[in-house]
């Protein structure tokens, strides 16, 4: 039985577990119909030209994990930010772990999607925001919508800011031979609100995991949101990340994606600018080896005038890895005075690594400044020689140059402890120890 059939039959079982009378269930059924019709995307579709989900569909994933999976704090401590305190929303095999989490309702709501979907007090938010920006056409997004039940729910009211950053962490324990989880996150920042979120998916064993996550983010006027995605999962874990962001006037949303791990990672990052003077920033560092495959698909839709978007993706590809970048900027006819910039720089360090990149512009307004740049090259031999001649071993010298290459992206990380932790991850990935912090 292939994965699609399995998901179809699981949906009926899923309906037995939830309240089918709830209005959200209509959304689920609608979404499910769409998935049933479209199925998994194939390489024939333009958006999936370079990424195949075929091998994943052959794996017999269990859709509903066993209910109890306790984890000791010390087992997972290293996956959290240690130097600073954070709110934590932790899931183990897709199920909320209250033991590892730290949520709050003090002025702001940092809690669970399951609560938001069922409790009457949250109905007002669910009605207005749930599944409002996520695609109703994309098959994987609708698959997630159909099974949406658990995830993070964050609501920051007007003029509020949580005391500390929020960490959303998904662990998979390997209790199942192979597991598919579909978290659904909803993040709302009202006017003048501010929020920092760190999202991480971590598999604790080498059992196969497939995560199909959908995150909807709403930034109201003047809201500021920083979102960090750390993708450093085991080599047997695959991730399909669908993020949809709806921005209103004067809001600033930055999404940083750090892709170092995982077997197959696909990031669909979509920004919709529904207002003026909006700033949208997407940055990413990708360092791959082995047979890893990372596919970044970004979309910025400039709907209103006077907005900006900035994209900066850096990639280093070694061994048999494959990197895909597809950045799409759409500027509507009325979106005059748009500034949209896109940059994608890549370094290939192996003959067997592949890069496919397609920076795409679709522009319908005339008074705009749009540009994209894309380079593929190698580390500068002269620079490498220079460092070596100053007594820095080759490996470290290469790592230093790669740091320099990726530094643009790291610089804009606003949580310094996170920056340190990412630095450590990069050093680990490059197999070096550097005697300084960046």
């Amino acid at each position: 039985m292939d994965l699609k059939d399995k998901l179809i039959s699981s949906f009926m079982a899923f309906e037995n577990k939830i309240d089918v009378e709830h209005p959200v269930h209509d959304i689920r059924s609608e979404a499910f119909k769409n998935f049933e019709e479209k199925g998994f995307p194939t390489k024939k579709e333009e958006a999936w030209k370079y990424t195949s989900l075929k091998s994943l569909q052959k794996i017999d994933f269990s859709i509903f994990p066993k209910e109890v999976n306790a984890l000791e704090n010390k087992q997972v401590k290293k996956y959290f930010l240690q130097e600073i305190d954070t709110y934590k929303i932790v899931f183990v095999d897709g199920i909320y772990s209250s033991f590892l989490s730290e949520t709050t309702h003090d002025g702001v709501d940092i809690c669970l999607m399951s609560a938001a979907l069922t409790k009457p007090m949250y109905k007002q938010y669910i009605d207005v925001y749930f599944n409002k920006v996520a695609s109703k056409e994309d098959s994987l997004t609708t698959l997630n919508t159909a099974f949406s039940r658990e995830g993070a729910f964050i609501y920051i009211p007007k003029n509020k800011m949580p005391k500390k950053p929020v960490e959303i962490v998904h662990f998979s324990t390997g209790n199942e031979a192979s597991l598919m989880i579909q978290p659904r996150n909803l993040i709302i920042a009202e006017e003048n609100a501010e929020l920092q979120v760190i999202e991480r998916h971590q598999s604790l064993t080498t059992n196969e995991v497939l995560t199909n996550v959908v995150t909807e983010i709403f930034a109201a006027e003047n809201a500021i949101i920083d979102y960090y995605k750390i993708q450093n999962d085991a080599k047997t874990a695959s991730l399909i990340d669908n993020t949809y962001i709806n921005q209103k006037s004067n809001s600033v949303v930055k999404v940083h994606t750090f892709s170092f791990g995982g077997k197959l990672t696909r990031n669909n990052l979509n920004f919709y600018q529904n207002g003026e003077h909006i700033d949208s920033t997407m940055k990413g560092i990708t360092i791959l080896g082995d047979k890893q495959h990372v596919d970044h698909h970004t979309l910025v839709h400039h709907i209103e005038p006077n907005c900006e978007s900035h994209q900066d993706y850096k990639g280093v590809y070694g061994e048999n890895s494959t990197g895909v970048f597809n950045g799409k900027i759409i500027v509507d006819k009325i979106a005059q005075k748009t500034n949209a910039f896109q940059q994608n720089n890549n370094i290939l360090i192996s003959d067997k690594a592949t890069i496919n990149t397609k920076p795409q512009l679709e522009i319908f307004a005339d008074d705009v400044k749009c540009s994209h740049g894309c380079t593929i090259g190698q580390l500068d031999e002269d620079a490498l020689f220079y460092l070596q001649s100053r007594g820095i071993p080759k490996k470290e010298a290469r790592a230093l140059l790669m740091y320099a290459f990726a530094n643009n992206v790291l610089e804009s990380v606003r949580i310094s402890e996170l920056k340190t932790s990412i630095n450590r991850l990069i050093a680990e990935k490059l197999g070096v120890r550097l005697g300084f912090d960046l």
Binding site: E46, K333, I334, Q336, N346, L348, I349, S350, D351, K352, A353, T354, I355, N356, T357, K358, P359, Q360, L361, E362, I363, F364, A365, D366, D367, V368, K369, C370, S371, H372, G373, C374, T375, I376, G377, Q378
Partner: protein, 481 residues
């Protein structure tokens, strides 16, 4: 003399498409529709050998199974392939030995096109092969070329007289089954140009082909084959026009270039098919497959100025097969009114130390859509491949669109690829600066557009560069606003 805005307006309205006349020459046109019999009949008509007929039939078989491509960023009513006549030849044609025998009306047509077959043009050093409604009418300058061993003739003549060359190379770069339109062309191509430059010969003059669709309800399917043998050089020009008609005409050509070791081919196109009127009615559908293959140390350079056609679908490409080979692509695509262009290039790096350059300038005005679509592919054994791409778009008015779809696929770590693209409009301060110095806005725009496209215009041969500049001006007239 005072030149009022009213006058300018009037002039613009009358000046729309100056090549839009129809020459009344009796034509020998086939019945409409397409089937195997028609394919065979075309082949018979051209007195082709059996292998050619078979080759056409093979292509036709493949075509029947293919579907029209949908991926391009263009929308148009699908042509009805059964409602087109696949062969139309000026009737009083046959073989001319001297210009005196040519139908005077036809000569007049050429004069109006500014292409004179007379001595003057010969002095200008251009050998012209004119293809009107599918059939090659005359090739000038043949003798001078023959002295050097250069073969420049119509493809049907080449099939008869140089079958070994044609047989060896036709379909070697663009196979019959390559794509929908290439397959159609392979089955029904009626004529085209053939050019062979022998070893070590530098062609002393620009070779030029002129295409014109004259008859209503016909499609033009020409096939061009240029072979540059080892160490040779040729510069080839191609010009196109069609009379204005309010139905859409179909043009599906195939161009194959073969640059053997150390050879260089420079292929320039000025495409000015009828773009349709200002309401988007009529115009030519231009679906063209152009591709060249570079052997060791060779170079192919494509230069194109695309100002015509209602719909353009065209990707002149280079397969850089040999080591140290070079591919270049310089393009200006101008769209106005309801024109749509989806054009670009493919650079396939296979050999070591291969280099490619892509400079693409898109200018969109009116309600037009202009897309750049390109592929740069570096295969895993293509060591030290180098590519530089630049695509700039200029938008005039906010009813038009500019799109870029650059695909970059790299499988070798020594590759160096740079791609940059920008989209902008003509700066108000630039126009103001010109106005302030007494240059009116229309002229100022022409100036700025010329500056914008200079990098590409510079690559055109002299005679063409002037014409191309004029074409740019004409295409953009009335787009100020």
């Amino acid at each position: 003399m005072a030149y009022t805005e009213e006058e300018l307006k009037k002039e613009l309205e009358t000046k729309e498409y100056e090549y839009g006349f129809y020459t009344d020459i009796e034509s020998d046109t086939f019945p409409i529709g397409l089937n195997e019999e028609i394919v065979v009949a075309i082949s018979k008509k051209k007195e082709e050998p059996d292998w050619m007929t078979q080759w056409r039939l093979e292509a036709f078989k493949a075509w029947k199974l293919m579907e029209e491509p949908e991926w391009a960023n263009i929308t148009y009513p699908k042509p009805d392939f059964q409602a087109i006549s696949y062969y139309s030849a000026p009737n009083s044609k046959p073989k001319y030995d001297s210009l005196d025998e040519v139908d005077p009306e036809l000569l007049d047509t050429f004069k109006r096109l500014g292409i004179s077959l007379d001595e003057q043009k010969k002095l200008a050093g251009v050998a012209v092969d004119i293809v009107m409604d599918s059939v090659s009418v005359a090739t000038t300058f043949k003798k001078t070329l023959a002295e050097k061993g250069i073969i420049f003739c119509s493809i049907s003549e080449a099939i008869k007289e140089h079958p070994e060359l044609v047989k060896k190379y036709i379909g070697s770069v663009v196979p019959q089954k390559d794509n929908f339109y290439a397959a159609l062309n392979s089955a029904v191509f009626s004529d085209g140009s053939f050019c062979y430059i022998p070893k070590g010969v530098r062609c002393p003059m620009e070779l030029s082909t002129y295409f014109r669709i004259n008859q209503a309800g016909t499609g033009q399917f020409e096939r061009t084959l240029v072979i540059a043998d080892k160490g040779s050089y040729v510069s080839y020009l191609e010009g196109c026009t069609a009379p204005s008609r309010d139905e859409n005409q179909l043009h599906a050509a195939v161009v194959e270039l073969i640059a053997l070791d150390d050879a260089e081919i420079k292929y320039s196109t000025v495409q000015n098919w009828f773009p349709g009127d200002k309401n988007g009615k009529g115009g030519v559908f231009n679906f063209v497959t152009k591709r060249g293959i570079c052997h060791t140390n060779s170079k192919i350079s494509w230069t194109q100025v695309e100002t015509g056609s209602a719909v353009t679908w065209k990707y002149p490409s280079c397969i850089l097969k040999g080591d140290n080979s070079i591919g270049e692509f310089y393009s200006i695509a101008v769209t106005n009114n309801y024109q749509q262009a989806d054009t670009g290039t493919k650079m396939i790096h296979i050999g070591k130390n291969t280099r490619s350059t892509i400079i693409s300038k898109g200018i969109s005005a009116g309600k037009s859509q202009n897309s750049y679509r390109g592929l740069v592919q570096v295969n895993s054994r293509a060591k030290n491949a180098r590519n530089f791409s630049q695509c700039d778009s200029l938008l005039m008015g906010n009813d038009c669109g500019a799109h870029t779809f650059p695909y970059i696929e790299v499988k070798n770590k020594t590759a160096q690829i740079e791609h940059e693209a920008t989209t902008s409009k003509i700066g108000e301060d630039q126009i103001f600066y010109c106005n302030q110095r007494g240059i009116d806005t229309e002229k100022a725009i022409a100036l700025i557009v010329n500056g914008f496209s200079k990098e590409v215009l510079n690559k055109l041969p002299m005679e063409f560069a002037v014409e191309a500049q004029k074409l740019l001006e004409i295409s953009l007239e009335g787009s100020v606003g």
